[in-house]
């Protein structure tokens, strides 16, 4: 009996997770080791780092882990060519949609697991260092520590986290798109991948800016997150209103889908071994 789409996607997903397993474990080991070391320093010496410095350092470690995941997304595609494993994938009776959906899900799983565990470790260690009574106090502490750039409201932080996760997912899809375009050229494919990635982000940034202007949400300035095309940290940070968040999520999802289907089309129609 023919197995369904979910079984095939499951097999591909398992394969991609296995491909990312070793580096995920290495990243987690690094994050755990660093947290343990800094915690030990804080409680055993008059380290100038202190608890607040620890909070900032740990946050940087979380972003560092996400950056490694982002860089790895490029090689997750190109390694299929380099390691000749594409000879196993291309003959399968599945299209690019299954292949790239499984890769995307595997990378997002890696992001959620590595990012989530890193963040939880940071909160846990801060909780112990500061001898706090509840989680909300940690967010208050982080908000003070980062010059009020972060809200102490947990709901607002969750909103930003969800939007950030979606934006990160779109960034990964653009990485796939750039890698597939790059692989269509036998010479300078790495350089072409980089150029396509940059141009795609610049173009997308311009389109989103125009859309934002057209909708014109009042009294709002979106928090620019990792990978927001054309974005950057601005002086006055407020969080998104709910309509703005929904609008932002729709734009992010829509643009991600356009890049995703462009990627699968190129893979199905143009890619060769």
């Amino acid at each position: 009996m023919e197995k369904g789409f979910s079984s095939k996607l499951g097999a591909m997903y398992k394969k991609d997770v296995m491909n990312l397993r070793t580096e995920s474990l290495l990243m987690l080991a690094f994050v755990f080791g660093l947290n343990a070391y800094v915690y030990y320093q804080v409680i055993t010496s008059d380290s100038p780092l202190g608890a607040s410095g620890y909070g900032v350092l740990s946050s940087m470690v979380v972003f560092g882990a996400l950056f490694i995941v982002f860089i790895r997304a490029f090689s997750l595609v190109s390694s299929e060519w380099k390691d000749h494993t594409l000879h196993m994938i291309m003959p399968l009776p599945i299209g690019g949609n299954t292949i790239f959906l499984s890769k995307l899900l595997a990378i997002l799983t890696q992001t959620a697991v590595v990012g989530g565990i890193s963040f939880a470790l940071t909160l846990g260690v801060l909780y112990m260092i500061l001898e706090l009574e509840n989680i909300q106090q940690i967010f208050n502490f982080l908000a003070m520590d980062s010059g009020s750039l972060l809200s102490s409201n947990l709901t607002e932080i969750l909103k930003v986290a969800i939007y950030g996760f979606l934006t990160f997912a779109r960034l990964i899809v653009i990485v796939f798109f750039s890698s597939v375009v790059g692989r269509m050229f036998t010479k300078m494919s790495g350089f072409i991948t980089f150029v396509v990635f940059m141009l795609s982000n610049i173009l997308l940034g311009q389109i989103i800016r125009l859309l934002d202007q057209a909708v014109n949400f009042e009294e709002s300035s979106r928090v620019m997150l990792l990978g927001e095309p054309g974005g950057g940290m601005t002086g006055s940070m407020t969080f998104m209103s709910t309509p703005e968040l929904i609008f932002g999520m729709l734009i992010t999802l829509g643009s991600a889908m356009i890049f995703f289907f462009a990627t699968t089309y190129l893979y199905d129609q143009k890619v060769e071994l």
Partner: protein
């Protein structure tokens, strides 16, 4: 039936295949023979849709290759294509998910015949064992078409004959078509029905192997030497 209709494949300025037209018969074992760079692997890749023709078309049962048609083709590449973390069982679990024609009983028999074990880590086994693992995956399916690109590469001469006899002859389904490229012509000579000799992307000789041999009273190796001018280019 696999049909090539005026197929040309170019890599840059190089013509890997030059206006090839040929029918590969259903239920037959067809040998694609020729020196390095003659276009054998390109033909296999075009059938499997791993490469696209620069001109012309390839039809399988009168239809262009599609995902539905791919369900009925087993492909064994010359290159090692396994993921480094895979054990033989992982590779089997992965491949069988995608094909209805996977035969577990056949897999168990072949696993034993090829002296492989499911818990063998593929990156740690010898080149010959990896070649056997590829054969195992290709022949554990009851696919209508099996494409074998240098399947005996890396396997010692003592085992080759046994593999050809047992797998290609005994385990083959009656209506199964096999297309095979190889340099080990002596080993496959006895099982080949049709033969296609390629040189620089063109067909220089083709036909029923036994007929060609009888007509010229030559073995396949001698036929090939004749076709390529006493083996020049090998």
């Amino acid at each position: 039936m696999i049909q090539f209709r005026n197929v040309t494949k170019k890599y840059g300025k190089t013509r890997a295949l030059d206006d090839i037209s040929i029918d590969i018969g259903k239920g037959k074992i067809t040998g694609l023979l020729g020196p390095n760079g003659s276009g054998k692997t390109t033909m296999i890749k075009l059938i499997m849709d791993l490469n696209k023709p620069s001109a012309g078309e390839i039809l399988i049962n009168n239809a262009p290759i599609s995902q539905d048609i791919k369900k009925h083709i087993a492909y064994l590449p010359e290159i090692d294509h396994f993921y480094s973390w895979m054990k033989i069982k992982d590779a089997k679990d992965f491949v069988q998910t995608f094909y209805e024609d996977w035969d577990e009983r056949l897999y168990e028999e072949l696993l034993s015949f090829l002296e492989l074990e499911e818990n063998m880590a593929i990156k740690k086994i010898s080149k010959g064992q990896r070649a056997k693992a590829k054969l195992l995956l290709a022949f554990s399916r009851k696919a209508d078409i099996i494409l074998l690109d240098e399947p005996l590469s890396g396997i010692d001469i003592f085992t080759r004959e046994k593999i050809v006899e047992t797998m290609i002859k005994d385990y083959r389904e009656v209506e199964q078509s096999i297309v095979i490229t190889t340099h080990e012509i002596k080993e496959i000579e006895q099982v080949i029905d049709d033969v296609v000799f390629l040189k620089q992307g063109k067909i220089v000789l083709q036909g029923e192997a036994k007929q060609l041999q009888a007509k010229r009273n030559l073995s396949l190796v001698d036929l090939m030497k004749e076709a390529y001018g006493d083996g020049k280019g090998f």
